[in-house]
Subunit: 233 residues, 2 copies
Amino acid sequence: MTTLSHPFEQFAERVLPSTLGEDVRCGFHMLARCHPLAREASLDFAERSEQIVFVVRGATKLVAHASESRDQVVAFHFAGEVFTVPEPDNYSYSVCALRECELLTFASPEFLRLAEGEAEIMRQLLDSTKLSLRRCREKTIALGRKTAGERVAVFLLGMARRIGVEQDGRVALELPMSRRDISESLGLTIETVSRQLSKLKDDGVIETTGRSGIVLLDCPDLQRRAGFLKRTA
Amino acid sequence: MTTLSHPFEQFAERVLPSTLGEDVRCGFHMLARCHPLAREASLDFAERSEQIVFVVRGATKLVAHASESRDQVVAFHFAGEVFTVPEPDNYSYSVCALRECELLTFASPEFLRLAEGEAEIMRQLLDSTKLSLRRCREKTIALGRKTAGERVAVFLLGMARRIGVEQDGRVALELPMSRRDISESLGLTIETVSRQLSKLKDDGVIETTGRSGIVLLDCPDLQRRAGFLKRTA
DNA sequence: GCGCGGCATTGATCTGGATCAAGGAGTTCA
DNA sequence: TGAACTCCTTGATCCAGATCAATGCCGCGC
């Protein structure tokens, strides 16, 4: 990845087809808003229309505000991902930086007007929306039917697939989110998440280093603890 | 609505643009599979690719199977709606008829190949996927952060908007799903749902008639009980 | 390096909703 | 129209995870 290129270039390379006409490309460029975000800073779209967000660099959480001091982390998103922030209705949503971050945002109606004729972009948008939907449904299953231990196992396996580094069977993770973020994502409390992680450590399934480092020592065991369907291999 | 027309006609009228070429339209027709479903019958896509489903008539639930006897109702869908059933991964999904039903299904990859050049259809598909995503996120918030009482209130208000009949301030509902379906949707037990409904009845917020009839007498009160953000009117 | 502040862990207690266990009321079908 | 089945409601008890309360430890700033 060319780390020093302009944010829009990164977006274009990832999302826009190379055959795209210069005028349309320019339209997207005009529409793009760049947001450098410090750690813990958040983007609030309270008054605005649906937004399309591209994570140029860093890691983010999409948070829904149910009421004072009751936030639900709806999703985590990492560099290179595209996602949609709904306009506020029963809840208001905001995007918060887990680490220092660079985001590109587009007002959705204008984006769609530009993209409508471009089959490739529409396809990309549909794909990323379907990916979000799939993840959200899996979260629904976890929150509706799983125990604390299962939820934590599901979380670790999901993060391993997305940001893990495999090395001889083990997977090393550098979690960008705090225990609070994890608990607000899993519908648990900080204490319960901590206890479950301690239990996994005691059982020799994971190792932790500092606050954010986790090594998954036994993924098959975690898989069993996650309460997934038995793979009908 | 012309109740006796062929299922595919209903789909075409709702989803396909009137300007669509006869050959493409014919392609969709070839791809469509019609499924008349009796009450409680379900369509299982265990071995197949992602599916696009159109509800011609009736009411359905999308169910995820987490493990034996632990099902989560991911969504309800009513006549005229389009939704996507993911291909099985950690969970397997099925669509189940709440009442006698008629469904039209399409294998997603083939559908997309046909739709790719048709901006209007892609737009519709994106819109219905975003609607599913929005509802799924709201469910996530409910399951992650809300009490039993709040979840039931959210459920009733949601159903009121979708299948309620308003008459002088009250909203009459004829729920097509059982208490079990509701509990599996809200991540609760049958008993808890029943108790919460009884409480609402005692408090004069709703009235029930038979097993499936519910009248919402005081929607503002329900709104308060749902634990939504205060509307910053 | 060292001390400070916030995050994480660990322990003790409490509680909302699950589970277990009967009854009661709607539907259906003879 | 009534018998039987299924679904729903209501009550009693239990428990996973929340809440309350210290303590410990990492990481930053000086």
